[in-house]
Symmetry: D2
Subunit: 298 residues, 4 copies
């Protein structure tokens, strides 16, 4: 059965392509139609509107930019909600607010369709390489039904129970931890730099000893070199995620001072015109506050 795939951005496109390669039939939709041409040439059917990519009782996957975009393709006049109907499954893979996730789950439930939250860890290159980590929470039968599709897009699927919001929260927690690590590395390297230790040296020692994980190695190199172009994950998206984290924290009454610190870093960066740099460019502010002049990265 044809899967509807909505959203063909830098993440959605390679994910959809992996579905095609795995033998799934796809109907695709993207706000700008030309983004879908490469997939159409591989056999995907281009739909005129989101709802047309979806069949009653079918499976729809959404991978769009943010809450507003998701509301539009699900709840808008051309949205998929009413089309899916009883038995249909909406697999929502974007990084969105738990609040919207809960609301969509409720709206689907009222119509007999099923809402599965399946956010992912990994950037576009990981998506292309089928190396994403996929979280999955929602009604058990629905999760079971879409598992082959999820497995076609990532290296591992984590089943996380019946409550969709749980997947969104863990996703946000993970992104928050990455932000925190960026800040910690930036402060440590700046401390070193102002004592005469080259930034690369600080990271080299730490990643060859207590922090050997690739995440530290890769981000550490970027931050050491102040190399923020091209963005692998835009700083404006970091701000978006920090806002989602703090929104979820406020909703559950959880003070998160480290998340608040990071939101401040991203606000400062965006205010300084760095929205399109890589999100590690939060480190520029750390250096500037120490009186260094790191420029705007390269």
């Amino acid at each position: 059965m044809e899967i509807g795939f909505i959203g063909l951005g830098s993440m959605g496109y390679p994910m959809a392509e992996n579905l095609l390669k795995a033998g799934h039939a796809l109907a695709i939709w993207n706000r700008s139609r030309e983004k879908g041409e490469g997939l159409a040439s591989q056999g995907a059917r281009q739909a005129g509107r989101p709802a047309d990519a979806v069949s009653a009782d079918g499976v729809a996957i959404t991978m769009v930019a943010d809450d507003a975009a998701l509301e539009s393709v699900v709840l808008g006049p051309d949205g998929i909600l009413e089309k899916l109907g009883p038995g249909g499954v909406h697999v929502s893979m974007s990084t969105i607010s738990p609040a919207l996730s809960a609301r969509l789950a409720e709206l689907h439930r009222a119509r007999g369709s099923h809402y599965v939250a399946a956010p992912v860890f990994g950037r576009p290159d990981a998506a292309a390489a089928k190396m994403l980590f996929v979280l999955c929470a929602g009604p058990a039968a629905a999760c079971e039904r879409v598992r082959p599709a999820l497995e076609a897009m990532g290296q591992k699927v984590f089943p996380l129970g019946e409550e969709p919001v749980h997947a969104n929260i863990i996703k946000l927690g993970g992104n928050f931890m990455i932000m925190s690590v960026i800040e910690a590395m930036a402060e440590a390297m700046t401390l070193g730099e102002k004592h005469g230790v080259p930034r690369e040296k600080t990271m080299e020692v730490l990643t060859q000893s207590i922090f050997p994980a690739p995440l530290f190695v890769n981000y550490g190199k970027q931050i050491a070199a102040h190399a923020y172009r091209p963005a692998r994950f835009k700083l404006s998206l970091g701000l978006k995620d920090a806002n989602l984290v703090l929104g979820a924290a406020a909703r559950a009454q959880v003070p998160m001072p480290l998340a608040a610190l990071m939101q401040g870093r991203y606000l400062a960066a965006v205010a300084k015109g760095r929205a399109d740099l890589d999100w590690t460019a939060a480190a520029l502010n750390v250096a500037e506050d120490a009186g260094l002049d790191p420029g705007d990265g390269h």
Copy 2:
């Protein structure tokens, strides 16, 4: 030639033992003499005062609790400074302030002796298993001379140039990053907990995906279970290290808001009577601020 080893606490003892095992002759000294008995039975010579553990032109290793203890064994009336003399090498392995490190380097230089800063990453179990990471900075010839001893105590030695302070700064940077990771995990797990996600589940997913490093796995388990007894690294030492980091930051005019946050966590923990818990117990405050009642760990 006999090496003088000063300081036989939970770190120093197994380090000295590894030196003995590697065939080095040792003279040892500890504030409470009985701590040295086990090593004496393996052939170490117990000295009556720090200076007596050291020979002119020899090598002295210090592994003591803090700045004050180091000042005492080096600069005090029974201290090693005057005894070492021209050609002698002082290998300072404690986690101390860069300011004291710089001062000792200067004092040694004025006497023709050499100061090598060689702080380590790893806790007592790593020391026992010879799995420490050893940083090493100081005059090249002195570093070369003590390298076999350092290699007998750890899995890897990082040569860091001629400036002793650089080793201390990287050591503090590393400890600061661990603190930061503890805070980040605590906030992420508390966010999850208040949305209904079990703490263990949050960490399980994150450590099986983007944070696979042992540090995240091990600390994550402790924090998820609020298991802070017995302490592997006491919270009071975490506070000491946070103070050292902020002192070094102030000295070099580096605002480190994340380090300041962590100092606050440790101050709160100590004020609440948690000085002897593991330093991961900073996570208790995160949970309490969210209205949870995690108790005092177990």
Copy 3:
């Protein structure tokens, strides 16, 4: 001409009463009708729905709890927006988001009616005593028209130009500064307390020297005595205002670390069940973090 007054809570009621006393004819509406009985007995006309309190081309004053309540009475099916029509004036006196203020200004403009933002400084006792400070921003003619009404409710009216949002921003800035002062006093008193200085003594000296303003005297006494009942301004409203400040800051890309700190204090307080205490009860967390046990106030 009859003024429509919507919202008769602890602020709105005495404000409306002062309008009556000044000779203004009033039509009133409140979600729970019985709140209006005292004013009805003084001659106010009780309307069945918000729109019925308002006449075409008339003046409507709203003083409601928050953004949602304001949206409901303005934009809801019984709302005042369509009723006011060309020439009508909506005077919005609640503490709301600048975003909503801007949106309402636009909606009114499109219909030929006028939107005036007129938030106030002062708590219910100041409202009763006609001691409010009233900010006023909006179209000049509309501000002029409603000035007599505003003057009947406060001790001073500040004209702030044509842009309604400006009044909202200054109002939020003022509330933020009060929050900040509460935190500063709480930290200073806790520092003193743990050095043996009675909390009252710290405040007595500071308010008789460099901080003689009533705000410091009055809040200082509450915080010194941990006296948070009854609430003069509920902590839940403090959280609401902190959220509005941070929302406005995010919208304009302004990192406000002190505002973020205060939001964290209020989240912690609400999470600990203190939503109904006075907002100065944020000081409890300051004391608790220092290992003191201040109880929950009295």
Copy 4:
């Protein structure tokens, strides 16, 4: 009887002059002798070293830059400690660490002399105008003895009991609160500015309504205009005070996140070369973080 007055900087000079005007005989000492010439021409005796300004059983007043300077004039080879002897009184008016205050109190006690902590609120112009607020804590008889001298230097003396440290703590608490108010005003004005509200307008409204105190008016004007030259209180002194506050907080195990925030602001300012601007220049960083370019003040 002649009073010894040590330290004739921008504060000490006018304070000593007021003592002379009130009829007290003075012996004076300053690191650079020429600073004392104006007072010598008014009858003060210039001493060659601190100890020579003091008579056994006499009264010595110190008003020096910091802990190190005070240690030097009290405990150094030319210091006053041994000279004062039984019955002598040391009135310590500088802003210093509570730790040093406690230590000096102890050293005096052991010699039969008395230590009185008498820090002041007010800047040089207030010192000249005899408008200082003087805190006073120490042995009752000693406080009584020096009261006329204190009253000759300020508008009000606050007796604060027998424990000298209490006066130092309240002094630091007051300076901390001023810092906090500076930050709060800077954030509020920056929030306004980025929404189109002139900085002066925000402060005008707030100081004519809820914050009428002179401190808000005067600091507010400086911050609104980014007018930081000449410094009335240097930013480097603000950093010194923030460090003293945090040191006292650490000593008593009190997390003070707002004080930590302010230390960060001062570190950033000093790192950016602003040590000699007025301490309100911390506000520059607030504006810069919001992407504004306020220059370096004027």
